[in-house]
Assembly symmetry: C2
Homo-oligomer: 303 residues x 2
């Protein structure tokens, strides 16, 4: 045994702090997950899952058609037509993003054909809050009037403006653009690999979130050029293929389930993280930020 | 040219939003830094700098004796006596920490000798706010009554309790401990490599912050075992040596300067990041979180 950060290991001993919870012994997030009913988990639609195949393994991205329907439709087209096969991760900037796609995308002589994908899309920075089942978090957040989850994604909401949007948290996938709002088409994508750059919220179209394989992106060597680009092509990470899960034979799909953010299990996990009561934490925070919450993903149990 | 996140590249065109700033054209953080007077930069004391020598290069950590005097004193002793030479980075957990030191530290048969370092230290989770020049940020933060900077470090402060502490932001270095508050001695250290785990604030003694070389820690392969440990010793990253800069011949030191957090230049950079007014940002956030601010570090100019 060596000195650890024991936060994940210690069993809960003391009762929770709040009066409402006082009668119930504290359960760790893992204990809550272990006791969760099957109905609190969902299996993402294979038509919303992107499989990015790297030499080191598979990155699985869940797309968010509820937030960026035009971009998601274009991404589905690009994946189905093999647009990204043989492209690369060409930018990794420390504490910021890993970005991938066609590094020559803006060079008319060298750009890959976009096939039947659209060349122009509307900006989808936010959407109407109406019609969205938004599950707010208890704590205030200086970045947005409200934060919470919707459709399983980290989100912000402005009740006065009647708008909602995806939040730039760790693992979120956005559509890189140039200066114009509507200059993204979903061909060049980035994944957040550091402290959440929430100043980008409502400034870029976000299209989804990594469910599995973050360590294949976050541990890549940082690009030596400004903003993390690799001018030397040999340093880029090759992308063997990106496919919709629905294109992949069932036997080759990765079985996984995501905890429903509208479930009591999820609310309990968030609360157990807001106020950690165990042998390690001496001072429970009584607070959690949106981007400190990761939505649990699991391999479906066998029974 | 390929689609970029242009945030760092575009020149400022529009005037800043607030009335007080209306007369002055917006300047990007880089423009502000380029115009900064020499007096706004400081050269850290070589007796507060740790050089960690890895195969890939040097990681430079600034220690924080104002927050953790006993731990910093012990770390100086350990470095001067070569305690870490030949140890390893034995844990890298995605979106959390890279941890290093003596992996056998708790095995009495295999632990390295601690030399003249102390075997027991007080917990230094927080300190009296009195006597600390605390520079508060303008925005509220749900994690602490106040956040800001002190002695160049990201910090929280509770005026009612009269206490201040270092905040767990990207690059901050903490002293791993077991369940007991006072079970850390500074021999096992961790560096935050992901979303700021602010729930650890006031729960662990923090000892400093990485000034240079974060990419040598953040891009390491994640440990396959739970909590990011590498049980296979071959996967650990060897540490050639850790030395105080003051032990290293002047010719082999890394020249660097850190922007003073009590300078007008720093305040201007923070404000320029709170409200980005350039061709890329369509909606300035009007907000910044403590851990979204990195304190600029530079190689001293030649003139």
């Amino acid at each position: 045994m060596r000195p650890l950060l024991l936060s994940c290991l210690l069993l809960a001993l003391a009762p929770a702090a709040s009066a409402a919870e006082a009668a119930r012994p504290y359960r760790s997030p893992q204990e809550i997950l272990d006791a969760s009913p099957a109905a609190h988990w969902r299996s993402p639609d294979p038509d919303n899952l992107l499989y990015m195949e790297l030499g080191g393994g598979r990155v699985i991205i869940e797309l968010a058609p509820a937030f960026a329907p035009a971009h998601v439709a274009n991404i589905r087209t690009l994946a189905r037509e093999g647009f990204w096969d043989g492209t690369s991760i060409y930018r990794v900037q420390d504490n910021f993003v890993a970005q991938f796609g066609d590094v020559d995308g803006e060079d008319p002589d060298k750009a890959r054909p976009l096939g039947s994908a659209l060349r122009k899309l509307p900006a989808e920075f936010q959407r109407d809050a109406a019609g969205l089942d938004f599950q707010p978090l208890p704590d205030p957040d200086g970045w947005a009037p409200q934060t919470g989850f919707a459709e399983g994604f980290h989100a912000g909401r402005d009740p006065a403006a009647g708008k909602a949007w995806m939040a730039h948290c760790y693992g979120v996938v956005g559509a890189a653009r140039n200066a114009e709002d509507d200059s993204s088409i979903g061909a060049e994508l980035y994944v957040i690999i550091g402290q959440s750059p929430r100043q980008l919220d409502r400034n870029i179209t976000q299209v989804g979130r990594v469910l599995r394989g973050m360590e294949l992106l976050s541990a890549l060597p940082r690009g030596p050029e400004p903003m993390g680009f690799y001018d030397n092509p040999a340093l880029r990470t090759p992308i063997r293929a990106i496919r919709m899960a629905s294109q992949v034979a069932e036997a080759e799909r990765t079985p996984l389930q995501v905890l429903r953010t509208d479930s009591q299990t999820f609310r309990d996990v968030v609360e157990a993280r807001r106020n950690r009561v165990d042998g390690f934490y001496k001072r429970p925070a009584g607070h959690i930020d949106l981007c400190n919450i990761s939505v649990p993903v699991r391999t479906p149990p066998l029974d």
